[in-house]
C-alpha cells in the first residue's frame, strides 16, 4: 500500500458508520479522502462468511458472526462479568490472545462492568445494529435547562432537523410521520419517510390495545411503530420518484442483531461503498491508527501514524504516516478516546484534551429487561427483532428526579434474557425428560406466549465513568487496550426502579405473568433501594468526546471540530453530551452530516 505519498484533503480514521457518512459527503463534493480502516476489508463474500460463522456459533451473541481479530480486537458480551474488588484478571494480559479470549478485550476496573460492545471492521458496528432510527425529543437537547440535570447540548432539535431528514434518506428509514410526533418532535413540511412503517407484530398489536389506557407518570403508554433502517414498502418522495435503494424488503429473519442475512437492514457498508464509488475516496484496510501528530506551534494535526498487519493473529507488517489537510476521527467512542489519549508524545495529556474531558462521561443506555408470559399466544421469533415501542415515557417532569426510559418491545421471546430457546429445551429434555409429542406440546404451550420488554434507561455524564488507554495491557500490535471505569449513578438507578414499577403496571394490564428468574447476563448486577437489578448493555456507547459551547468543559464545538486543533474533527456517538433515551445512531449520522457540511465549508 503506497497511498501515503498521495496528498489528501481529508484523512478519516475509521470506516464505520460515521466515517463512511463523512467520506461519502466529502467524496461527493469532490474532496480527496483517505480512510484508515483497522479491520478486515469489505469483500463480496463478507455476509456469506459471517453468516456461516454465526450459524456455527454455539452462543448467538451480537459478536457471533465476527471472528475476533487480535490486531484490531473488540469486546464481546460474553466477557461482561461482575467485577471482583480489586479486579483480578484470570490471565496475565501479556499473553494477548489468551487474555482477550478469557477476560475480554476491555480492562474493566468497575465498580460495574461496562456492558456494551462494538465491532472493528469496515462498516463497523452497523453490521449488528438493531435498525432503530428514533429522533431525539426537543427536551433531550436541554436537560440542564429543563430539568437541572446533566448538561445542555450546544444545538437544539431545530438545528438538527434537516440533518435528520438527510440521515433518514441515506439509511432508508421505514416509519410513519404522524406517529413520530412525540414530545414535540416536528418534521419539515410535507415530509415523508422513505418507506412506510414496518408492519407491527402480533405482540405489538396486543400491546397497542391492552396498554392504550394505561398511564405512567402522566404519560399514556401509546405503542408506536419504531422507525427502522430496514426496508419496507416504499413511499413516493417529495420529488415524485419512488424511494428505491435496490435492496430487498425485510423478510423477518429475527436476526437484525447480530446480522441481517439479506441486507434488508441498512448497514454502513452501503454508504461506504457509495463513498468509494465517488472515485474520490481511497481506503486502506487492516491499517490501525496508532498516533496523531501535531505541529507544536500551530497545534494543527500534521499526520496520522498507522500500523498494518496481514492476518488476525500475525505480527505487524508495516507502518507509516498519512497526511491531509483535515483529519476526522471516526473510530468509535471508546477507540477514538483511546487514540486521542495515547497520542501523548507531544502533549502529555493527549490530543484535544485541554478540557480534560476526553475519555470521560462514558455512557450507555443501560437496559432493564422484563419478560414473562402472556395469557394468549403472541408468537415470538417472527419478524424483525423489534417493530414497535413505547416512546411516550421518554420525557416528563420526572426527569429532574430520575432517568427516563423508552420501552422496546421484543419479538424474540425470551432470547435475550434467558437464551431461549436453548436453555428451555435443555430443561424440557434434560431435566423433565420430555420427548416426542409431549415435548412439542410443551414448546408450543410455553414458547408461543413468551415476550420481553427492554427499558432503555438514560444515563448522565460523569467524570467517574471514563476510559483510558491501559498502561499495562496491549493488543497484538502493542497498542493499549481500553481500561474502563464505570458505574450507574443514583439518577439512572432510580430510572431502573421506575422501570421495574412500570413493569408491574404493564404486566398487570396485560394479565401477563412476569418471569423473575436471573437473566443470562448477570454482569450488570446492582442493588438499589433494597432491590436487585440487572443492567444489560444496549451497545450505545456515548459521551467520550462530548461537544459543547465551552472549551473548558467540552472537547469539540457543535460542528464536532476540536477546540484545541483547528483541523481535527471527532465524529460518532462520543459527541453526545447526554444520552437521552433514543437509540443514538440516527442522531450520530445526522451530526456527521452536519460536521461534513462544516468541514466542507472550511475547505472552500
Amino acid at each position: 500500500m503506497s497511498n501515503t505519498a498521495k496528498q489528501y484533503d481529508v484523512i478519516i480514521v475509521g470506516g464505520g458508520w460515521a466515517g463512511s457518512a463523512m467520506a461519502y459527503r466529502l467524496g461527493e463534493a469532490g474532496k480527496k479522502v483517505l480512510i484508515l480502516e483497522g479491520g478486515i476489508p469489505l469483500q463480496s463474500n463478507n455476509r456469506e462468511d459471517f453468516m456461516e460463522t454465526f450459524f456455527l456459533a454455539m452462543a448467538k451473541t451480537p459478536e457471533a458472526p465476527y471472528v475476533q481479530n487480535y490486531n484490531s480486537p473488540r469486546p464481546s458480551v460474553l466477557d461482561i462479568k461482575q467485577i471482583t474488588h480489586p479486579p483480578a484478571p484470570s490471565v496475565d494480559c501479556a499473553h494477548v490472545a489468551e487474555s482477550i479470549d478469557t477476560d475480554g478485550y476491555f480492562i474493566q476496573k468497575g465498580p460495574m462492568p461496562f456492558g456494551s460492545t462494538y465491532e472493528r471492521l469496515a462498516g463497523g458496528t452497523s453490521w449488528h445494529w438493531l435498525g432503530t432510527c428514533l429522533r431525539l425529543v426537543p427536551n433531550d437537547f436541554k436537560m440542564y435547562t429543563e430539568y437541572g440535570v446533566g448538561v445542555d447540548w450546544p444545538i437544539t432539535y431545530d438545528d438538527l432537523s434537516d440533518y435528520y431528514d438527510q440521515a433518514e434518506l441515506e439509511i432508508g428509514v421505514s416509519a410513519d410521520v404522524e406517529e413520530q410526533t412525540v414530545h414535540g418532535i416536528t418534521f419539515s413540511e410535507d415530509y415523508v419517510y422513505p418507506m412506510k412503517r414496518i408492519p407491527p407484530s402480533v405482540l405489538d398489536q396486543i400491546l397497542t390495545t391492552e396498554l392504550k389506557d394505561v398511564v405512567i407518570d402522566g404519560n399514556v403508554l401509546t405503542v408506536t411503530g419504531t422507525p427502522a433502517g430496514r426496508n419496507g414498502e416504499s413511499n413516493i418522495m417529495k420529488d415524485g420518484t419512488i424511494y428505491n435503494n435496490g435492496r430487498r424488503l425485510c423478510q423477518g429473519n429475527t436476526n437484525c442483531t447480530p446480522i441481517c442475512p439479506i441486507q434488508a437492514k441498512y448497514d454502513a457498508t452501503i454508504t461506504l461503498s457509495k463513498a468509494l464509488e465517488t472515485g474520490n475516496v481511497d481506503i486502506m484496510y487492516q491499517t490501525v491508527a496508532s498516533n496523531i501528530q501535531i505541529d507544536a506551534t500551530t497545534k494543527e494535526v500534521t499526520g496520522i501514524d498507522y500500523i498494518q498487519y496481514e492476518t488476525r493473529t500475525g505480527p505487524a507488517t508495516g507502518k507509516g504516516t498519512v497526511t491531509g489537510t483535515k483529519y476526522v476521527i471516526a473510530a468509535h467512542a471508546i477507540e477514538a478516546a483511546k487514540l486521542l489519549l495515547m497520542s501523548n508524545k507531544q502533549i502529555s495529556t493527549g490530543i484535544a484534551n485541554s478540557s480534560g474531558q476526553v475519555g470521560k462521561n462514558l455512557m450507555d443506555h443501560p437496559v432493564k429487561l422484563s419478560w414473562g408470559s402472556m395469557p394468549k399466544p403472541v408468537y415470538p421469533f417472527r419478524g424483525p427483532l423489534s417493530t414497535s415501542g413505547i416512546e411516550t415515557t421518554r420525557d416528563g417532569s420526572f426527569r429532574s428526579e430520575r432517568a427516563a426510559y423508552r420501552i422496546e418491545i421484543g419479538n424474540e421471546g425470551w432470547n435475550w434474557p434467558t437464551g431461549a430457546p436453548y436453555t428451555q429445551v435443555q430443561n424440557y429434555v434434560g431435566k423433565m425428560g420430555l420427548m416426542g409429542t409431549a415435548l412439542r406440546q410443551q414448546i408450543i404451550t410455553d414458547f408461543t406466549k413468551q415476550f420481553r420488554l427492554g427499558f432503555l434507561v438514560e444515563q448522565m455524564p460523569s467524570e467517574e465513568n471514563y476510559i483510558i488507554p491501559s498502561p499495562t495491557c496491549s493488543d497484538n500490535l502493542g497498542l493499549p487496550r481500553p481500561e474502563i471505569h464505570y458505574n450507574l449513578d443514583e439518577y439512572t438507578r432510580a430510572g431502573f426502579k421506575a422501570a421495574a414499577e412500570a413493569t408491574g403496571i404493564i404486566f398487570e394490564a396485560l394479565d401477563a405473568t412476569e418471569d423473575n428468574s436471573t437473566p443470562l447476563g448477570t454482569g450488570g448486577f446492582f442493588q438499589y433501594d433494597g432491590e436487585n437489578y440487572y443492567s444489560e448493555g444496549a451497545g450505545h456507547v456515548m459521551g467520550t468526546h462530548r461537544m459543547g459551547n465551552d472549551p473548558a468543559t467540552s472537547v469539540t464545538d457543535a460542528d464536532l471540530k476540536c477546540w484545541d486543533h483547528d483541523n481535527l474533527y471527532l465524529v460518532g456517538c462520543g459527541s453526545f453530551p447526554t444520552t437521552a433515551t433514543a437509540n443514538p445512531t440516527l442522531t450520530m449520522m445526522a451530526l456527521a452530516f452536519k460536521s461534513a457540511d462544516a468541514l466542507l465549508k472550511s475547505l472552500a
Partner: protein, 157 residues
C-alpha cells in the same frame, strides 16, 4: 444402526413424522448427517451405540402404538442410553451436539453446532410456528398475522 432405524427412532423421539425426518425425496439429508454425527468416533462409546440399536430393534418389533411408551421406558429411562437419546433430540430440535463427556452446562466443553444446515433445519422453531433466527422463508410482513402451528400427531398410546 442404519439410516432407516435411526429415522424410525428419531420419529418417536421428536414427535415428527417420516416426511419431516426422512422424506422420500430428501434434499437435506438431515437424518443422515445426524446419524453420521452420532457415529463420529469419540462421541459415543461403540458399546452404547450397539445397545441403543439393539434396544430399538426390540422396541420396533413390538406393535407401533407402544413405541413411545417403550422408548420412554427402555431408552429415556436407561441411564446409559438416555444421554444419547437426549442428544438425538437436541440435534433434531436445536441442531446441536452437547458434549457427553462433561456434565451439562460445564465450561469448557466440546458442544458444537452440527452444521449451518442443521441449524437451519432445527425443529424447535417449526414446532412453535417460527423459523430459526437468521433463516426465514417468510415474506415481507408475515409477522403481522399469527402463524399456523404445525399440527401434532395424536400422542401414541
Amino acid at each position: 444402526m442404519n439410516l432407516e432405524q435411526f429415522a424410525a427412532l428419531s420419529q418417536v423421539l421428536t414427535g415428527y413424522g417420516q416426511e419431516a425426518i426422512l422424506p422420500k425425496l430428501d434434499t437435506q439429508h438431515q437424518a443422515a448427517e445426524y446419524l453420521a454425527t452420532l457415529y463420529t468416533p469419540g462421541l459415543v462409546p461403540v458399546a452404547t451405540l450397539q445397545l441403543l440399536t439393539d434396544t430399538w430393534n426390540t422396541i420396533s418389533a413390538m406393535p407401533q402404538p407402544t413405541y413411545e411408551m417403550q422408548v420412554k421406558e427402555q431408552i429415556m429411562g436407561n441411564t446409559e442410553l438416555a444421554p444419547v437419546a437426549k442428544n438425538i433430540i437436541y440435534m433434531w430440535f436445536l441442531g446441536i451436539w452437547y458434549d457427553l463427556t462433561v456434565p451439562p452446562g460445564t465450561s469448557p466443553n466440546k458442544d458444537f453446532v452440527v452444521s449451518a444446515q442443521a441449524y437451519q433445519n432445527s425443529l424447535v422453531w417449526d414446532t412453535m410456528g417460527a423459523h430459526p433466527m437468521g433463516y426465514s422463508e417468510g415474506v415481507f410482513g408475515y409477522w403481522n398475522t399469527p402463524p399456523v402451528i404445525p399440527p401434532l400427531h395424536p400422542p401414541i398410546q
